[in-house]
Symmetry: C2
Amino acid sequence: MTTAHPRSARKTPRRRRGATHRPGPKPLSKAREARSAARREAILSAALDEFSSRGFEAARLDDVAKRAGVAKGTIYLYFRDKESLFQELIRAMLTPLVGTIEALGAADVPINALAEQLVELFVREVYETRRKDVIRLMISEGRRFPKLAEFYYREVLSRIIGTMRVILRRAAARGEVSQGLAEFPQIIAAPGLVAIIWSGLFERFESLDVRKMMKAHIELLFASRRAP
Amino acid sequence: MTTAHPRSARKTPRRRRGATHRPGPKPLSKAREARSAARREAILSAALDEFSSRGFEAARLDDVAKRAGVAKGTIYLYFRDKESLFQELIRAMLTPLVGTIEALGAADVPINALAEQLVELFVREVYETRRKDVIRLMISEGRRFPKLAEFYYREVLSRIIGTMRVILRRAAARGEVSQGLAEFPQIIAAPGLVAIIWSGLFERFESLDVRKMMKAHIELLFASRRAP
DNA sequence: ACATAATGACTGACCAGTCAGTCAGTATGT
DNA sequence: ACATACTGACTGACTGGTCAGTCATTATGT
């Protein structure tokens, strides 16, 4: 019989500190906690670099440790195992996006201005940051982490899509966009995703101006309602 | 443990392949060649399954062999190594697409009919076949195989994009679509790609009707020129 | 002094790739 | 027709290197 996971002889679940509650009468010193948080960050950052360039399976925890300026064992003080490190990484980077997007939907501005903001937000907060790599990782490896895919769908995607639907329906009611769009909000995001994939695979052969492409796309989509 | 001599202990009598009766009076080398080709196919097919479900690194050649009904050593008679197997797989599956797409560009039909054909082609020849998995693999793993990415760009993508540009410019000259589209043919394909990614990650939470989405998208794009 | 954090050498699973051995099918000799 | 030798496609046990995860030991902070 084969083992469930290759290369993992995990038996004893390890208790982590950090995220778990700290109710006791033992207040850790501020400096200590700050240092601890900094280490955690360093490990996550190093992990992102390694996972991004080699992929989840091929990335070596030894390298993550070296890059983070930490011994390998230290990683296990902060994360249960390799998989857990990977999942935490993606969670930590993508969770903040939701609030930002939802905030956009709250304001009731004309669709043109909103679209402009959306493109800016994507380029500035995703495409030009390491979040681009996180999304690439999600795309590449997500399939092998069903729990992560579920988290991402539930906590991030479905909420963004929901927000988009609200926005698009409102705009459709005003005649600013066609009804069809509200049914497939994915269409709005599609060029952004394509740009992320393109940049990873083909940038060196032919570069792609994301901002320009997204603007062109949105203009095409909205043009359908400009001549009532 | 029966290890009398190193590398010798043969125990199980070999069972030859099942249905290999030579019915005809022609035991020509034709049969051999056909058998050889069939084996190659079996290995490629098994490899696609394994690579698709576990990813390149995690896929075991032992499993590929088992699935193909072949011993591991046999794989090495047909392919140099694991990486080579992977690359051949992608090449073999995607190369035929180019001709089909280029043929579409040759005929000078109205853009509406052409768009319809394009969607049908994508759904029938990619989305509903194993080519979908191959493209998913290309997206997921391509970054770690620069040679493969280059091949794909040079032999597949750039030609498809070139064809699309010709088509779109022609349509733009007739006023059927806006100029902007010809600059970013990627936009046309974007929903298709998104659908492939979506199906792998989130299908189980929310299904997505590719055909409908692509048609909606194209309709939105073309609508911009319907009211001058 | 004590608790907690950090270290890194070590272990055992794991797997790509190898190669000595096997045998169905073919060719040659009588 | 029959026997004997030859061929090479195929096999799978084995090796060597890799790496996730462990834990006895050492360092650091209060």
